[in-house]
């Protein structure tokens, strides 16, 4: 099997790939420092904390003493990660001994955090202005619906009714790599695309965000600014309203796109408008997937390859359609059969048998 996994797990890899000057610029914001620190492996976090009030460089060999000798690889991984993200900076003295010291901006921001505690990027709007805010469950439902709608559109752009604000070119960017279009044919889902559909919501979100950011330059937007805004967004309180007036122009354009993805909900008041971060947004900087928000569903596959899926989601139906023949659809039940033809069809699209059995 070709190794073309859709690598979407880690946002920080992308941050680490930024040039040093851009990265240092990012560390001007305390939120980014916080998000970066939280994304580190546990051991690296601990090192960062330990070095927080140490201003002089520490010799690398002295640091190696911190861990038990059996776990030197863990130590290397942690240090490499810290260097990669420029949390630690390598210093060489005259005798060519390597020592590390902490990035000063990072250190300063973190020290401030410890004294003041974390603050919010911006004040929520008073409830007197925002008449009625959606409840958390409503918000979550909204986010999921928006996201599902987006996914549907992604895999099957012709079928969707109700236009979206995403321009066609933008949609293309997202679809790049996920769909392959041969000349004169409708675009088909590639192996990557199929894997993408099977990922958890958070991982999918990352993938899309990464494409979104990497395509930023083409649209004339500075990716650094976008990254910092996205990270900032994840520190907003879930379900609170924030005024759009506090945003810069770039951020305002971005927030419309994010609303389309279900990361925020935009609301229009009498005078001003505001956005409400949803769970998708607040989970953004947490690289762990604690939002197992995928809808419950059951799939029963009989030995005669008939398949019953209890799901109301059109997305599930679309996924199943990729490798099976859908026979009929009831409001909460999809009945189909896995046939020779449907499987061959799937194989032709580069979907492997393993992936199919994984999906079921």
């Amino acid at each position: 099997m070709p190794q073309v996994m859709v690598v979407a797990r880690n946002f920080m890899d992308m941050v680490a790939a930024l040039p040093a000057s851009k990265l240092d610029m990012l560390y001007d914001s305390a939120f980014i420092c916080e998000a970066v620190l939280r994304s580190l492996p546990p051991l690296a976090k601990k090192y960062a904390l330990q070095m927080l009030y140490v201003s002089a460089p520490v010799v690398a060999s002295a640091m190696e003493e911190w861990v038990l000798s059996d776990y030197a690889t863990k130590h290397r991984v942690a240090i490499d990660k810290l260097l990669q993200l420029r949390v630690f900076v390598e210093v060489r003295d005259r005798r060519k001994e390597v020592s590390y010291k902490m990035n000063q901006k990072f250190q300063g921001n973190m020290q401030k955090y410890l004294v003041d505690g974390g603050s919010l990027p911006r004040e929520p709007m008073p409830s007197s202005v925002t008449a009625r805010l959606p409840t958390l469950t409503e918000l979550e439902a909204y986010a999921l619906e928006q996201w599902e709608c987006f996914l549907l559109q992604l895999i099957n752009s012709s079928q969707i009714e109700g236009g979206s604000s995403f321009s066609l070119s933008m949609m293309r960017t997202f679809q790049r790599g996920l769909l392959s279009s041969r000349d004169g044919e409708a675009p088909r889902l590639t192996e990557n695309g199929f894997q993408f559909l099977l990922m958890e919501t958070n991982a999918q979100l990352w993938y899309i965000m990464r494409e979104y950011i990497s395509s930023a330059e083409e649209r004339g937007v500075d990716p650094t600014e976008l990254i910092s805004f996205l990270l900032e967004l994840s520190f907003h309180t879930l379900g609170e309203a924030y005024s759009l007036n506090t945003l810069t122009d770039v951020q305002r354009i971005a927030i419309r796109d994010l609303a389309e993805l279900g990361l925020v909900k935009l609301q229009q008041g009498r005078k001003d408008s505001w956005f409400i971060p949803t769970k998708l947004a607040t989970n953004l900087s947490a690289s762990l997937s604690d939002s197992s928000s995928s809808k419950e569903g059951f799939v029963v596959v009989e030995t005669n390859f008939r398949m019953y899926a209890y799901s109301t989601s059109r997305l599930h139906c679309e996924i199943l359609r990729l490798f099976s023949r859908i026979e009929y659809q009831l409001p909460n039940l999809i009945v189909g059969a896995i046939t020779k033809e449907s499987i061959y069809g799937a194989f032709e699209n580069g979907i492997t048998a393993e992936q199919v059995s994984l999906a079921l």
């Binding site: 916080e34 620190l37 939280r38 546990p42 051991l43 976090k45 601990k46 904390l49 330990q50 927080l52 009030y53 003493e65 911190w66 861990v67 038990l68 776990y71 863990k74 130590h75 973190m110 955090y113 410890l114 004294v115 003041d116 505690g117 974390g118 603050s119 919010l120 309180t237 609170e240 947490a286 762990l288 997937s289 604690d290 197992s292």
Partner: protein, 288 residues
């Protein structure tokens, strides 16, 4: 299906803080400074992972109470951390005042050697941890950190040991950081039995560095790290009859209660010792 939804280093840290006024009146480190170090520490734990959960318990001479809970702070929506900590410090002041009244009304002799209610605080901490365990499907890794200054109270021996054993059973390590002048035999045993870290910092003005370097380490990373080892553990027990710490004594052969002198009948289980005991030196039943 219990999938692993938490990453390795999510911790639930319960910090037990000694607020014994008799100790702090004569301590090398002023309480205000100590409290600042503590807040730094709590903040740094919260910084490390947004799922980390920190609870602070204050122990006075005759009572103890919860003074800070990070889940309250975030749930109430007021993410204004400065205000939360102002509230915590107000709470601690109230607690100290109330504890002083409590002690006065108890009429117990409160001299400069009086101990803090460690047993109560440990029980509170363990209860909290059990509650978290039972409330949801997702378990952060729990641990307890005791910041103790005042000397041990031998009269709490049985209660403290029981807490230690229940911590051991529920696999909760008890870390101890001694901010006072003398080592604590209770906490040495606690950390030894529950495989926590026992540390008596040399330089108290740098308390935060000790806290950050040693006690902020999550349980997962502890397996890799070289952490301070306890040199010697004071295993001495207290007798059940006079609550004195003893090196040598009599142990009931039925229930293992410890007495400093010979009794005809065990006060704990009621067994009668009808054999005539020779003097202590010829028949010593020594605890480890």
């Amino acid at each position: 299906m219990t999938s692993k939804v938490y990453s390795d280093d999510v911790s639930l840290a319960v910090v037990v803080v000694d607020t014994n006024p008799f100790f702090w009146a004569s301590a090398a480190l002023p309480f205000a400074d100590f409290f600042a170090h503590l807040i730094h520490y709590v903040n740094s734990l919260l910084l490390l992972n947004h799922l980390n959960h920190v609870v602070v318990i204050a122990t006075g001479v005759s009572s103890c109470t919860y003074i800070f809970d990070s889940s309250d702070a975030s749930a109430s929506g007021s993410a204004d951390v400065a205000a939360t900590f102002a509230k915590a410090s107000r709470k601690i002041e109230e607690f100290i005042a109330q504890d002083a009244r409590c002690t006065a009304s108890n009429g117990s002799v409160a001299d400069s050697n009086s101990a803090s209610l460690l047993s109560g605080a440990l029980s509170l901490a363990l209860c909290y941890i059990q509650r978290v365990f039972r409330s949801g499907t997702r378990h952060p890794q729990p641990r307890i950190l005791c910041l103790q200054g005042s000397p041990d109270g031998p009269e709490q021996y049985v209660a403290v040991m029981n807490s230690i054993f229940s911590a051991q059973r529920s696999m909760v390590p008890i870390d101890s950081c001694i901010v006072g002048a003398q080592d604590s035999a209770f906490l040495q045993q606690a950390s030894y039995i529950t495989s926590g870290v026992y540390l008596k910092p040399q330089e108290l003005s740098g308390l935060f560095q000790y806290l950050a370097a040693v006690f902020a380490t999550d349980l997962h990373s502890r397996t890799f790290l070289r952490l301070p080892k306890t040199l010697g553990v004071d295993f001495r027990a207290s007798c059940f009859c006079h609550k004195k710490t003893i090196d040598m004594g009599y142990v009931c052969s039925v229930c293992l209660s410890i007495f400093c002198k010979y009794h005809k009948k065990c006060s704990t289980c009621g067994s009668e010792f009808n054999r005539v005991m020779p003097d202590l030196n010829s028949m010593p039943d020594q605890r480890q």
